[in-house]
Amino acid sequence: MPSWSELEQFLVSGLALGGVYALSGVGLVVLYRATGVLYLAFGAVGALGAFLAYEMLQAAAPQWAAWIVCILFGGLVTLLYGMIFGPALAGRDPLVRAVATLGLTLILFGAMELLWPPTSGATRAISLPTDNGGFTVFGLQVTWTQVIALGSGVVLTIGTGWFLRYTKLGTAMRAMANDRVITATLGVPVRRVEAAAWFGCGILAGFAGLLLADLVQLEPATLTFLVISSLAAALIGQLRSIAVTFAAGIVIGVIHDLLTPFSALTNYRDMTPFVLAVIALLWASRHRTVVTRSREEA
C-alpha cells in the first residue's frame, strides 16, 4: 500500500492530465449544446493539427506559426464539417449525427497513418518552450505546460459559463439547445450560431491536440482515442453541465494516475473513464427514475 507522500506525486501528475481531459470535455459539451452533435472527431482533428505543426517545426518554421496553424486547422476543419454536413444531418437522430463524426475520425486517422506512417527509427515529438520552466510540488517538477493544461480548463469552464449566460450569441446557443426550430422562427441566425459553435469547438480541439502532443505522445492512435476519456467526462456531465464535465475530467485524470502505484489495480487504470461514466449514467438513470416516481406519487 503506497504511502500518502507517494500518492502526492500521482495527484500532481493526474491533475495535469485531467486538465486536458476537462478542456476537451467542455469543448464537446459546448458543441453538443449548440448543435446536438457529439463530436467524436475531436481527438483526430487535434492530432492532425499537431502533426502539421510538427512538420512546420521540422521545416524550421517559427514555433508560434506552427502553434497557430495547429489551432486554426482544428477550427477550420471542424467548421467545414459543420457547414457541409451539419444542415444535412440536422434533422436526423443524434446517434446518426454522432456516427457521422466517427466517419470524419476514421478519414483523418487514415490520412495520418498514410502521411506519417510508423517509422523504424526516429520518434516524432513536439516540445513546447513552456516545458523548460516551472516549479516543484511534492518533489515533482511541474512544467508551465501542465499549468497551462489545467489553467486553461478552469478559464474555459468559467469563460464558457459566462459566455452562455451573458452574451447574445451564448443565449442563442442555449435557445438552440432547447429547440432549434423555435429558435429559428424567433429570428435567431441559426446557421451563424452553429458555425460559431463548430469553429469554437474546433479551436479547442486544435489547442488540446497541441497540448496532448507535448504532454502525452505525438502518435495518431494515442491522440485520436484520447477523446474517449473526454467523452466519458462529457457523459458524466450528461452533455449539459460544463462545470460537472470539467470536474469529471479532472477526477478521471486524478483517479487514473492515483491507481498507478497499486499493483493489483494498475493494469486496469485505463478503465477509469469507462467505469466512472457507467456509474454516473446508472446513478443519473436511477435518480431520474426516483424523481419521476416521486412526481407521480405527488
Binding site: 507517494e6 457529439l38 527509427g121 526516429a122 517538477q141 502518435e219 467523452l231 494516475d257 485505463d270
Partner: protein, 465 residues
C-alpha cells in the same frame, strides 16, 4: 420524460456503446502496437544519422559486396522471401528493405555466380491467417528457395512448423519465443528477452539495491521477464516486474511509479519500443526525477542516437543500453563502412537510416549471400537450406561473436553483447564494461543453448574482438 430528455438519454446510451467500441478499438490498437512494441522491438535504429551523413560511407566502394565489380548479374534469378510486420505504430520493414539494398548491391556486382537475387518482401499486420497465407504464397507461388529477413511479432509462432515441414531454415530477426526455441529459426539479434537480460546484467554490475523491470503489457511478458528475474535472483538483487500498456499515454505516472519503486539506490530497466521508452524517459526528465535512481537501463530498442539526442546531455552516463550489434558511431571497420556505403547508395527505402534495424538487415543478407556462394549446383530449396544450415563461425563484422546456424533444437547464435550509454546525443560504448559480454547462463534458456551449441568465439572483425 420529455423529448429532449429522451433524446439525451438515448444518445447517452449510444455514447456508452461508442465508448465501449472505442475502448476496444483503442485497446486493439494498443496491444497490437505494443506487442509490436515491447515484445516486438528486436532492436532499434540510430535514426539520427542519415545515410548520406555517415562519414566515411561515401569514400567506400560498394563493389566489394559482390564477386564481379560493376558487372550486373543476368542469369536466372534466385528467389528469396521475407515476411515483416508493417502496421500502425510498428514497422520492421527497414530490416527487409536493408536486406533488399544489400541484394541490389550484390546483383549490380556479379550476383551469385552470375545469378541475381529476386527478393519478395511480404508485409503483415499481426494476423495469423494472413501470415500463414503469405508463407504459402512465398513457397507455392513465388517458389522461393530461402527465407531471410523475417521480422514479425508472431510469424515465428505461426509458421515455424510449416517451415520445418517444408525444409526451410530461416535467418531472421527474432521477436516471438519460437524464433529462438525451434530448430529451423536462427536470429541475428537477441530479441526482447535476452536483450533485457543484458540490460539487467549490466545494471547489476553497478550494484543497485533493487531493480524495477518495466515492459510493454503484451502477450509474452511472462516469458520475457523470466530471464531478467533469473539473472537478478542469482545475483541476490530484488527485482520488481511492472508492465505499462502501450502506447504509453500516461508516461508521467509511469515514470513516477518506476522511480518511487526503485528508490534512490535502485535501477530502472525498460523494455519498450523507442517511442514509448522516450515517452517515459522524457517524462522523468520533465518531472526532474531522472536523478532519483542510481541508473536507468534499457533493452536494445533504446540504442538510438535519436533517443540520446532527444534526451540531451543530462542523461550522459545515466542510461545504459544493451546493444546487440556493433555501435555504428565511431566504428571504422571495413564491414561497417561497407554497410554505410550500401545504405547510402542502395538504401533509399530504409527510413530509419543508420541503426540496429538496418544493421540486422545487412547481417542477414550478408549471411544469406555467404550461404548461396557455398552452393554447388542448382539453387533449390534443398541445396540452399543445406548451405544455410551449414553456416559456421561466420565473421559478420557486426556482432560480438562469430555466427553459426548448426543442427540444434534451439538457436541463440548471438548471445554476447555490448552496452552503450548516452553521450552528447549519441549512443557510444559504455566506458566501463561496455565491451562484448556474454549473456549470463543464469537465464536457463541461455544455459540450455550453450550446453548444446557451445560458446562461439568472438568476431575479430567487429570492434569487440
Amino acid at each position: 420524460m420529455n423529448r429532449h430528455e429522451h433524446r439525451r438519454s438515448s444518445l447517452a446510451a449510444a455514447a456508452v456503446a461508442v465508448l465501449a467500441i472505442g475502448g476496444v478499438l483503442a485497446g486493439c490498437s494498443s496491444s497490437s502496437s505494443s506487442s509490436s512494441s515491447s515484445a516486438a522491438a528486436p532492436a532499434t535504429s540510430s535514426a539520427a544519422a542519415a545515410p548520406s551523413s555517415s562519414g566515411s560511407a561515401g569514400a567506400v566502394s560498394t563493389s566489394s559486396c559482390g564477386t564481379k565489380a560493376g558487372v550486373a548479374a543476368t542469369g536466372t534469378p534466385i528467389p528469396l522471401g521475407s515476411i515483416v510486420t508493417d502496421q500502425t505504430g510498428t514497422s520492421f520493414a527497414d530490416i527487409a528493405n536493408m536486406a533488399q539494398a544489400y541484394f541490389n548491391c550484390v546483383n549490380a556486382n556479379g550476383g551469385i555466380n552470375g545469378h541475381p537475387i529476386k527478393y519478395y518482401i511480404e508485409k503483415e499486420q499481426t494476423n495469423a491467417s494472413q501470415i500463414a497465407s503469405l508463407s504459402k504464397q512465398l513457397v507455392q507461388t513465388d517458389h522461393v528457395v530461402g527465407i531471410v529477413g523475417n521480422t514479425s511479432i508472431i510469424e515465428c509462432s505461426v509458421d515455424h512448423s510449416y517451415w520445418e515441414g517444408q525444409g526451410y531454415y530461416i535467418i531472421d530477426s527474432g521477436i516471438a519465443p519460437e524464433c529462438y526455441s525451434t530448430s529451423n529459426s536462427a536470429a541475428v539479434n537477441m530479441g526482447p528477452r535476452y536483450s533485457s537480460d543484458g540490460a539487467v546484467q549490466y545494471a547489476i554490475t553497478q550494484h543497485p539495491s533493487k531493480i524495477v523491470f518495466d515492459q510493454a503489457n503484451v502477450p509474452g511478458t511472462t516469458y520475457i521477464a523470466a530471464g531478467p528475474n533469473a539473472i537478478a535472483k542469482a545475483a541476490n538483487v530484488p527485482i520488481i516486474d511492472k508492465t505499462a500498456t502501450p502506447p504509453v499515454a500516461d508516461a508521467n505516472s509511469v515514470a513516477i511509479d518506476l522511480v518511487s519503486s526503485a528508490g534512490k539506490d535502485g535501477a530502472v530497466v525498460l523494455n519498450f519500443t523507442p517511442p514509448d521508452a522516450l515517452s517515459i524517459l522524457s517524462a522523468a526528465q520533465k518531472l526532474n526525477i531522472e536523478g532519483n535512481v542510481k541508473l536507468w537501463a534499457c533493452s536494445t530498442p533504446c540504442n538510438t542516437d535519436f533517443l540520446a539526442k532527444s534526451l540531451g546531455p543530462k542523461w550522459n552516463g545515466k542510461i545504459f543500453v544493451n546493444a546487440e550489434l556493433t555501435p555504428p558511431d565511431g566504428t571504422n571497420t571495413p564491414t561497417m563502412n561497407l554497410y554505410k556505403a550500401i545504405l547510402s547508395q542502395y538504401g533509399s527505402a530504409v527510413t530509419g537510416g543508420i541503426g540496429s534495424f538496418s544493421q540486422m538487415g545487412f547481417v542477414e543478407a550478408e549471411l544469406m549471400v555467404k550461404a548461396l556462394e557455398s552452393v554447388t549446383g542448382d539453387y533449390t530449396v534443398s541445396s540452399v537450406n543445406a548451405a544455410i544450415k551449414g553456416l559456421k563461425d561466420v565473421n559478420t563484422g557486426m556482432l560480438c561473436q562469430q555466427w553459426t546456424y548448426g543442427n540444434y533444437s534451439s538457436h541463440l547464435p548471438n548471445n554476447m553483447d555490448y552496452t552503450t550509454t548516452a553521450n552528447n546525443g549519441q549512443m557510444t560504448l559504455a566506458p566501463s564494461g561496455g565491451g562484448c559480454t556474454l549473456i549470463s547462463e543464469n537465464d536457463p534458456q541461455v544455459k540450455a543453448y550453450r550446453a548444446e551449441a557451445g560458446t562461439a568465439p568472438t568476431d575479430p572483425t567487429s570492434t569487440g574482438g
